[in-house]
Each structure stands twice: as C-alpha cells, then as structure tokens.
C-alpha cells in the first residue's frame, strides 16, 4: 500500500470527517474538496506522528509543536493545500509516496505557500511565494 498516513478534517460548523470511520469505511478526499472553504483543521496521522494545519490561524504543527507564521492571522484567508506526490521508476510499479500539507494565503496580491513535505524519514518546511 503506497499510502502510509490517513487524514482527519474539521469544519467551521464543528463537524468532522475522518478518512476512515470506526467501521473502516473510507471517505474520499473529494468530500473535503466540496467543502474546502469550510475547513478549519486538517490532520495527517500515522507512524505515531501527527501533522496538522490550522486554517484559522495559519499555523502548522508536528506532534503538537506549533509553528506560527503570522502575528495577525485574522487579516488573512488560509486555503488548504494537501496532496500526495508519487514517484515510480518504470517498469516497476512500486510507488513511493511523500505527503505535502499546508496552506496558501494571499498577501499584497501575491500568493504565499507554507508547506510540510513529509517523507518516511524526514520532514521539510517548504516556503513558496
């Protein structure tokens, strides 16, 4: 299985959706995308680690160690970024997966991204503007 983290998502109305419910039923990320502007917190969990992006205050945390990027987060709109980057070498079908989790915000008409790149062995903080 190429996926090694699972997600949990909280919304402004207080509801939550987990990728897997207690019965093991899996929800697709499309459900989150349909309510993307309502997301407040998005987590990735696995290998005894938790990676979290808080879209209310523009922070990212790893195992409860929080990184804040803005002193005045209320002035910004933070938009979720989440995807899996797959890498394979044909003709192999064995897929390596890195996770990207973070947010984008617009400052002075320029988009800025704060992202975690999560690999099996390391975590990188990626800044893009």
């Amino acid at each position: 299985m190429s996926d090694w983290l699972k997600w949990e998502c909280a919304f402004k109305d207080g509801t939550t959706i987990n990728q897997f419910d207690e019965t093991g039923f899996e929800t697709t990320f499309k459900i989150v995308q349909e309510k993307i502007n309502e997301v407040t917190v998005f987590k990735l969990i696995g290998n005894e680690n938790t990676y979290l992006v808080n879209l209310l205050n523009g922070s990212i945390s790893v195992n409860n160690q929080v990184i804040h990027f803005f002193e005045d987060p209320n002035e910004h709109n933070f938009r979720l970024i989440f995807f899996k980057r797959r890498l394979v070498s044909p003709p192999s079908t064995s897929i390596n997966t890195d996770y990207y989790l973070g947010f984008q915000t617009t400052i002075n008409e320029r988009n800025q991204k704060k992202l975690l790149k999560i690999t099996h062995s390391k975590i990188f903080l990626v800044n893009e503007s």
Binding site: M1, S2, D3, E26, T28, F29, K30, Q33, F82, F83, K84, R85, R86, L87, V88, S89, P90, P91, T93, I95, T97, Y100
Partner: protein, 173 residues
C-alpha cells in the same frame, strides 16, 4: 484509497497495447524491433549496431502509465531520467511526450518527434499530465512517452548501454 499503476507499451500501426488488461509491462527496452520485449531477452538479440557513418536508431519505444484504483485527481505528471550513465558518451536517449500518438508506422529511422535528449532533472522534466488534467475517479492514462536510442558512428564502446533509471512522478489527492 490510492491509485495503482500499470505500464503499457505500444507497437505497430494502428497501435497495439501490451500487455493485456490488468497486467503491467515488465520492461521498456530499446531495441531494433517494433515489439514489446515481454521476456526482457529480445533486446540482446535485436541490438542497434554502430553504423559506419551517420546514426542508427532503436525503434521508437512508446509507453504510457495506466492508473487504476480510486483517487480524486492526478496532476503534475512528470517524466525524466534521474540516473544511469550510458556506456558511451556519444549515445543519446531522445524523448518526448504527446497526448496522441498515431504514426503511419513506427520508425527505426530518426524519430521526428523524440529528438531532444531526455531531461535529467525533475525541474526540466517532460510534462505527461493527461489532457484532462485528471482521471477522477476512474482509470485513466498519462500522455504517451516516446523514447528512442540514438547510436552514432562515433560510438567507440559497443555493447549493453546499461540500465537507465527513468522517473515518473505525479501529484494525487
């Protein structure tokens, strides 16, 4: 949920896809024959010889990724060669990508489509993202990757060119 991937190789005109449904190609060897080298042995029996002048060429090797499984979107599909040194500096693997591939016939002459050397960094990789940008939520193909080995007369080290590590990357939700 996640995608799974199978490799498909194309030969002939009109194109024939191999291997069959549910199976993935076991190699993408470059050889002097327009066949899918299903045994990984045909390339040794059908080498591209060093010409006395000019260049000889492998047949264009045409591949696509075929995704199955469940996923929302596949984007940012990239193809490049990350490592592997050709056995002679004069050798070249040319490559290009296209959404449609319907030649009158595969060629063992110089490709008119795959002419530039395959990129060797992800930053300069070929973009093989399917035209629609995604295949949600059903199975779907990447663009065609077309590769050709160019063997000029200046090659002084004939023999196996060595394994080349081709990378194929995509972003998925």
């Amino acid at each position: 949920m996640a995608s799974t991937i199978n490799w498909k190789v194309y030969t002939g005109s009109p194109l024939t896809e191999a291997p069959g449904a549910g199976n993935s190609a076991v190699n993408v060897n470059l050889l002097a024959l327009d066949i899918y080298d299903s045994t990984a042995g045909s390339y040794a029996a059908n080498p591209i010889s060093v010409p006395a002048a000019g260049s000889n060429y492998s047949f264009e090797r045409v591949i696509r990724a075929f995704w199955t499984g469940t996923f929302n979107e596949v984007t940012n599909v990239l193809l490049w060669k990350s490592s592997g040194t050709l056995s002679d500096a004069a050798l070249k693997i040319a490559a290009n990508v296209t959404g449609t591939w319907a030649p009158a016939a595969q060629t063992s002459g110089a490709s008119t489509f795959a002419t530039a050397a395959i990129p060797t960094t992800s930053g300069t990789a070929l973009n093989a993202t399917p035209a629609a940008g995604s295949a949600y939520p059903a199975a779907g193909y990447s663009k065609y990757g077309v590769m050709q080995l160019v063997v000029p007369s200046t090659v002084t080290t004939p023999g196996d060119i060595g394994s080349q590590l081709i990378r194929f990357q995509w972003d998925e939700t």
